[in-house]
Symmetry: C2
Subunit: 404 residues, 2 copies
């Protein structure tokens, strides 16, 4: 065959830097003389079965560079998870268009899609090189030090909590915010990265790696209120009881599931509202406020880590190099090689697909409600340069005259 | 007396630039040889009655400049609204500390506090110059072109919706987000400022200046879904029915009120959740997501308009100049003198205090669910420089092979 046709697609939840990887693939592929055409599938695997392709060879460098800096999947995304019949449809289309290399940018659900497509291709004796290009704000891919998209989302969460902490100092009370991340607590843990002064919040961090017990939660909030007169709490959307049932799914009778069987955790403020209501009624506290950081975490335009930008771009570039020179399928992974330096490697798809990484124990404090210094050291370089910093007045008290 | 003692305090909800005004007051006051001491009251008027003062004369320039760039009230804030007895307590303390100038940075509730304190001072024949220094993300002070704090919050809202719109393009459905602003729709209207392409969202904007009718809302969402296959909606927390009852307060049996009689609108995701539930059940739509922008709008660390920074600083500086050279009480106002240029003036406290500005009719489209070009022209220069911009791929469709 040797058509030199490449197909790139984006799947799962968008991130702030997912287009860097897409543009990294396109720009690097353009340097190979044997590459004829670079197609983009619209809305992931769904666009493939529907033959919804655009020709990225016909796009200007200038616009590609601007799109690279723009958040959210420029080719559109999907939550579809291909089964056997779906994959057979994919093959028909790939064969008809003589695609030789397939790059799918996505998280662990998408990596599983790539694995299935790759296995179907092998079974059909179709010479297809399938590369999974990592992306997820949840940071839950096994085999990688971290995933593109996570650092920018983490930066947003850190800046959000740094500001919420200042607001909570000005108008004291309980402030609680729910953070994305599903079964992995990394993004929620990043809430601690805006802390600077010893009494800065979040004072309590609830991760899905630990069992959530309501009574203990209330006692811990109460203790912080007694100590500081205020309390900032970070809660993962994925917190669950001892049976593994998500606290958020205990709230709704009609729980929404996506095609992957995942419970809908985002797009509702119910979890924050429930926890605030418990604090108000059981602890008899008046000023209790709950936010849900929601979709801003992954899509807010203008909050991005430059380290994340750079790495997301390189992951796309290296994906093409590994595919074109190595001609083998796999999943691109980021390995930390220094403080701070990274390298990229190709893992077997089976090593990544459908697996979920959660926070390592060494990153979680013994109390279970805070992070460790190890996590801080892990996280710090990922946030990128020019993190905004909070300053306080140094109070020089004036002697009281009336009631000295 | 001639003690040259100044007192500055911050009231109401914090903003991204409220410390610029405080530092503007302190730095300008330091230039006057007749100023002896510059005190800061902790937590607004409550700090005054409790004699909780810090000596801002004893603070370094470097730290003051860093605090100026930090979001949220560095002196702390309060929701207290002084009555007569409260004001008498204030006088006792002001007299005991021989304060000659009182600067209170706040919104329309705070301006009313300044008015009461000023009137009490006059009634008591106490020579006190009271200056209200404007601040509110709601932009609802009468007599000002706009208020410090609003532009930065508006920038946050614009960036949030610009990103949410991109996310909604990638994974189509209904996305709805609730924005602060109480009875004024300015901040919700700012959601439109991230739009660039003709089909960019928000496609529908619901303002408290118009009556909210659920059936019309559902019909309008449905129409956008039919036209575009997706829909981004901005909803003000202050939307109300024809009787003026807030939609959010219809939801909760136990409605929380602050000392000013204001209903608690923020710190809960209930309004977004209710509207999403209506869309899901009545329009039979599956992918419906609701966010509540919450406290991030006013406190997010690192999203600020440089125009807002500059003006908030100048408002503080001018407050001192007007007080020291003019020796009269009043409220500092921003007047627009060019495109784009501003000047500052002193309004009588009675002209501002306790009054609420809402969006002018010329800023709202005839449909009632969008802004006008006049609003865009009004808003654009306030957002400041380097607004992040969204780019799209220009799709060059590839011909279908299997199903041409």
């Amino acid at each position: 065959m040797q058509t030199g046709k490449i197909l790139v697609a984006q799947g799962g939840g968008p991130t702030a830097v997912i287009n860097q990887s897409m543009v990294g693939i396109v720009m690097e592929a353009r340097r190979f003389p044997q590459i004829g055409r670079i197609y983009g599938a619209l809305h992931g695997v769904r666009g493939i079965v529907n033959e919804e392709f655009v020709d990225l060879t016909q796009e200007t460098q200038g616009n590609l560079e601007n799109v690279a800096k723009t958040a959210s999947s420029a080719l559109g995304s999907t939550r579809d998870k291909p089964d056997l019949a779906y994959c057979q449809d994919i093959f028909k289309v790939l064969r008809a268009h003589e695609i030789e290399h397939f790059f799918y940018i996505g998280g662990n659900d998408s990596s599983d899609t790539v694995r299935i497509v790759s296995e179907q291709a092998q079974a059909a004796d179709y010479p297809l090189c399938c590369i999974h290009v990592p992306k997820t704000i949840d940071n839950d891919l096994v085999g990688s030090d971290h995933t593109p998209g996570f650092p920018s989302a983490a930066r947003f969460v850190a800046q959000a909590f740094a500001g919420a902490n200042l607001d909570n100092i000005a108008l004291p009370g309980v402030y609680l915010a729910v953070v994305m991340g599903r079964h992995a607590g990394f993004l929620t843990a990043a809430s601690a990265m805006g802390r600077k002064f010893p009494d800065d919040g979040p004072h309590l961090i609830y991760l899905p790696e630990r069992t959530f017990i309501l009574d203990e939660f209330l006692a811990e909030v109460s203790a912080v209120m007694k100590r500081l007169g205020r309390c900032v709490v970070a809660v993962s959307e994925g917190i669950h009881d001892s049976s593994g049932t998500a606290i958020s799914s205990l709230l709704n009778k009609e729980v929404e599931h996506d095609a992957h069987g995942n419970v809908q955790l985002s797009g509702t403020g119910a979890l924050a509202d429930l926890l605030c209501q418990e604090i108000k009624t059981r602890l008899k506290l008046s000023r209790v406020r709950g936010d849900t950081l929601g979709y801003l975490q992954r899509s807010f335009l203008g909050c991005v880590s430059d380290v994340d930008q750079r790495e997301a771009r390189e992951v796309g570039e290296r994906a093409v190099q590994l595919a074109l020179w190595g001609r083998q399928s796999g999943s691109v992974a980021i390995r930390r090689t220094g403080s701070y330096a990274v390298d990229y490697m190709l893992l077997p798809l089976q090593a990544v697909a459908g697996k979920t990484r959660v926070m390592e124990d060494e990153f979680i404090s013994n109390t279970g409600t805070d992070i460790t210094e190890a996590f801080r050291l892990y996280m710090q370089p990922l946030l990128g340069s020019d993190m905004p910093e909070a300053y306080r007045l140094r109070y020089n008290r004036v002697a009281k005259v009336l009631k000295p």
